[in-house]
Structure formats: structure tokens, C-alpha cells
């Protein structure tokens, strides 16, 4: 579907653009999406260059300056061990982005494979795979992540696995439905006719043409993965101290909330801004990638 409309729509009254350029062109029209993209670029930059950008090390304690409110030396103040909150947030971006992207990759690979197989082969394969996914969907996502993380134990890798697996059924469903909508098209039949293998047809023809909903879901998925991971860390299932994770920082500052609210304020604000940016971008991408929405 997207192949046909792309060429038709773009050539009608403006210059022909490649797929990506066309999407960027439409994305630029949405100020909120661009705002989201900007914030995410900034966070990625901070995460990559944390060693250079952060004014202090995330583990550097300064017991003479505990619970300090924001000042010139510590822009966002210090925590219960006198550690610089801003630096910890910057290092924490590494953890959160890692969790977000890797968890979504896990979900995408597992769910995508299952969904593509279910949609492409149909029949019994479809039935078995989707019934199993139905069972997993009967457990709310956060809860499933908690259940898996509780069994695996705390730690970064386990956190990613738990969040990733809990998101898998969603991707399986989305991939399956977009594969289903493409499977019956003529160009797939043509590929069959010239003797392409199933694997080649799925990889070369079906997946590229079903990317739009998957990209949107993945962008929003990174947001919910980061949110879930922060929630798990908050109840003590994720990253263990002293590693800087936003949810864990919030959880640590919680007991001092009455006297030193800045310990919880900034980590929460960081989480919210990140999620908000990803959501704006995801929404913008959905509009930009959906040919029906074109205005």
C-alpha cells in the first residue's frame, strides 16, 4: 500500500523526494515533533559524552555538601551523599536510553519474528502463536515486567530482558496485522511467481512495506520502556545503587521528600521530559508516515 501511494502522492504537485526525505519534510511541519526530536538529540548527546559534559563523576561523594539546594557549584544541588544531581542525571541518561533502545530491540526482534511468521503462514502457526500472545496480553505490561524482573533478580541486563519480553506481544500483533494486509497484494504474488523463497519475500518485500506502523510503535515503545524501567527501579527491581538511574534516584530521594524535595523533583522532571519528547516524536511520525493523514 505505502509503495503505491508514496509515488503517486509525492509526484502530484511537488518535487519528487526519496522516502526518508519525504517523511522528514512532513515531520518538519509539526513543531511538537521537532521539539521532541531536538530534546532527544540533546539527551543522546549528553548520554554519549557524559564523561566530558558532566561536571562531576556520578559516584563522587562530598559529605561536607549534602542536600545542597541548587547553586553555582552544583547546578541542581546535591543528594544525600553529597553527589552532584546534574551529573548523576547525565550519566543516568546512558542507562535509561540503553534500557529503552535495547528493550525495544528485544521486543521488536522477538515480537517481529513471531508476528511475521503468524501473519505470513496463517492457519495453525498463526493460531498457536497468537493464542500464546493473547495469554501474555492478559497480564498488564507493567505487571508482566515486574513478574519477570522479580524472578530474574535486579540488574541492568535483567531489567532490559523483563521490559523487552513484556512488550513482545504488542509488536507481534502489530507486525502480524501489517504483514496480513500486505500478504495478499499483487507484488507478493509476483515475487512468488518468479520463485522467491519465503524468507526472501518476508525480508525483502513484506518488512520494508510494513515499516510505518512498526517505526511509530517503536518510538512510543522506547518511551514506555523507559517509563517501565524507571518504575521497576523505583520499587527496587532495576538498577541497584550507586549506579545512577532516574527511577532509582527518585526512589532514593523519596524518604527526604519533606525537607529536600529537589532530590525527587529533578529526576522526575528528566524522566517526564524524555518520555514527553519521545511521545511527541512518535505522534508526529505517525502523522508523517500515514499517507491518509496527508494535508
Amino acid at each position: 500500500m505505502s509503495v503505491k501511494t508514496k509515488t503517486n502522492g509525492a509526484s502530484s504537485n511537488r518535487k519528487q523526494r526519496s522516502g526518508l526525505a519525504e517523511v522528514m519534510f512532513r515531520l518538519k511541519k509539526s513543531p511538537l515533533a521537532m521539539f521532541g526530536l531536538g530534546i532527544i538529540a540533546l539527551i543522546v548527546f549528553f548520554a554519549i559524552f557524559a564523561d566530558v559534559v558532566a561536571p562531576y563523576k556520578f559516584y563522587a561523594q562530598d559529605l561536607d555538601h549534602m542536600f545542597e539546594t541548587p547553586s553555582r557549584a552544583h547546578l541542581l544541588g546535591t543528594d544525600e551523599f553529597g553527589r552532584d544531581i546534574l551529573s548523576r542525571l547525565i550519566y543516568g541518561a546512558r542507562v535509561s536510553l540503553q534500557v529503552g533502545f535495547i528493550a525495544v530491540s528485544i521486543a521488536l526482534i522477538a515480537g517481529g519474528t513471531l508476528g511475521a511468521a503468524a501473519g505470513y503462514y496463517g492457519g495453525k502457526t498463526d493460531n498457536i502463536i497468537m493464542r500464546v500472545m493473547d495469554v501474555l496480553l492478559a497480564i498488564p505490561q507493567t505487571l508482566l515486567a515486574i513478574a519477570i524482573a522479580a524472578s530474574l533478580g535486579p540488574g541492568l541486563l535483567n531489567l532490559m530482558i523483563a521490559v523487552g519480553i513484556s512488550a513482545t506481544p504488542r509488536y507481534a500483533r502489530i507486525v502480524r496485522s501489517s504483514v496480513l494486509s500486505i500478504r495478499g497484494m499483487e507484488f507478493i504474488e509476483a515475487a512468488h511467481a518468479v520463485g522467491s523463497s519465503d524468507f526472501r519475500i518476508i525480508m525483502k518485500h513484506i518488512i520494508p512495506n510494513s515499516m510505518a506502523p512498526i517505526i511509530v510503535q517503536s518510538t512510543l515503545g522506547v518511551a514506555s520502556a523507559i517509563l517501565n524501567a524507571a518504575g521497576l527501579s523505583f520499587i527496587g527491581l532495576g538498577i541497584q545503587p550507586p549506579n545512577p538511574e532516574w527511577g532509582a534516584m527518585l526512589s532514593g530521594g523519596r524518604q527526604y521528600i519533606r525537607d529536600y524535595p529537589h532530590l525527587t523533583l529533578y529526576p522526575g522532571l528528566t524522566i517526564m521530559t524524555t518520555i514527553l519528547a519521545l511521545n511527541f516524536l512518535g505522534d508526529g511520525l505517525r502523522d508523517a508516515l500515514d499517507p491518509k493523514q496527508r494535508r
Binding site: D134, V135, A138, P140, L143, L250, S251, I271, L276
Partner: protein, 309 residues
Amino acid sequence: MIRYILRRILFLIPVIVGVAFCVFTLLYFTPGDPARMILGDMATEEAIQNFREAEGLNSPFFVQFGNYIYRAVTKGDIGRSYMTKRPVMNEIMQAFPATLKLSFFAILISIVIGIPCGILSAIKQYSIFDTVIMILAMVGLSMPVFWLGLLMIILFSVHLGWLPSSGFDTFSAMILPSLALAAQSISMVTRMTRSSMLEVVNADYIRTARSKGQKESVVILRHALYNALIPVVTLCGLQFGQLLSGAILTESIFAIPGVGRIMVEAIKTRDFPMVQGGVLAIAIVFSVVNLAVDVLYAFIDPRIKAQYK
């Protein structure tokens, strides 16, 4: 109609068995010996062996799973807490009403606020009101429930002193947790109502209703809303599951004695049967709620009624 409902109820059984299987498997592969955990570090090797034999812990995996299901169905026994040594079922039953109450209030708030906001946003599409509501909804979606809860405590309990920061007995104590928990679903319901209204308001029968001179309020509320609500009802069912699991975080922040708080305590003390029991209980309630939504469908959507006549 009856056939549809029966079919849906029958479909619930494999789903619940499947969920139980997941929970049991997770429990089975969790490191740590249940016998050792229940009897304590002081127990002799012999006592542990006897306990393993008596509880069937030496049997193969699927036999154990069969026993687990059998005991769950006949005696309501889903294991025993490592910490309190009491049956998990009792503890969860005791705590569940608070969690249900919290989720119920939250879904009520989401409907009462979300649907009107969604309608107004849709009929005033691209107005300032619409833009503000949509941005607010996005902020609500992006707000971690545990942070919102803490912010509310800082503002309303610590600074203003208007509302208590913990407990769940009085009405005033329920306001903050329910609102904090509801924030995300308010946003979801608003967005869903808006988009589903927008799809409906351009339909032919709406134009017909207008052209025959029907009052605008009747057109919107009766003709459009009634049809636009169907996906919103589904969403509310799904949201209930999100709320039940969101309640885990909310309860631990506001110190509400519900299933969530039990689970968080259990996670900290590595009391796995308790954690997985909570998961099982919430998943079952979630499935039942979705079943109820599907049955409700049969009443509000004439297309389903027609299919099963």
C-alpha cells in the same frame, strides 16, 4: 446473544490457565529452594527432604504444575508466603478490596474528565482549547505515576496541608492517590474520545441529522457520541489493567494497604510466591473485567447482536 457470552466465558479458561502457567514457570525457575525458604535456615536436611516429598517438590515440572492448578482450583491454594508463612491467597484476598477501590475510583475519574474533554476537543478541532487539551493529555501520558504522586504529596500534603499523604480510609485520603493513578488514563480516554469522535462527526448520518434540523447538542450527544463511545469502552477495559498494575506503584507511595504494597514488600524480601500470587490475582481480575467489557459490547453494539441471532 447467550451464545456469544458463553463463548467469551469459555475462552477465559485457557487464558487463565495460560497465565497460571507463566506465573508457575517463573516461580519454578526463580533461584532459591522453596523448602529451604519456608522452613528457614535452621531446618535440618532431613526435614527439608521430608517437606519436599510431602509438598511434591521432587516431582517433574508438569506434575507440579498439574498439582498447582489442582490445588488452586479445589482449595484456592496458590502457595505460601516465605515471610509470613501464611497462605498467599488469604493475604491477597485481604488486600484486594483496597486495590480494586483505588482502580475503580481512578477509572471513574478518567471517564468523568476524559470523555467531556475529548468531545469538546473534537468539536472544536484545531482551536486553542483543543491544542491545550492535547498537549496536557500528552504531558499526562508522559508523567510517571510515582513522580506525580510524590509531587502531589509535596504540594498538597507538605506545603498546603490540605490532604493527607497516606492511608485510604477517608474520602480526603482517597483523592490524591486516585488522581495520581488516573492521570494517564484521563489522557488516554481524552485522546481516544477525541479521535473516535472526529471519525464519526464526518459520517453521512451526522450530516443527515443536521440537515433535518436537529439541535446541535442532540446531534453530538445522541448521534455522534453514542457511536463514538464503542472504542472508548474497549479502552476503559484495557485501562483498568493498566490501573491495577499502576496501583502497585501508587499504593507504595501513598502507603495504601493493597495488593501492590504487599507485592513491593514481597519483592524487597524476595518472597516470590507472594509476588507471583499478586500477578496471578491481578491478571485474573483484568481478564474478567475485559470479559465484562466484551459482554457489555453485545448490548451496546447492535452489530454483534445481529451476528449471534
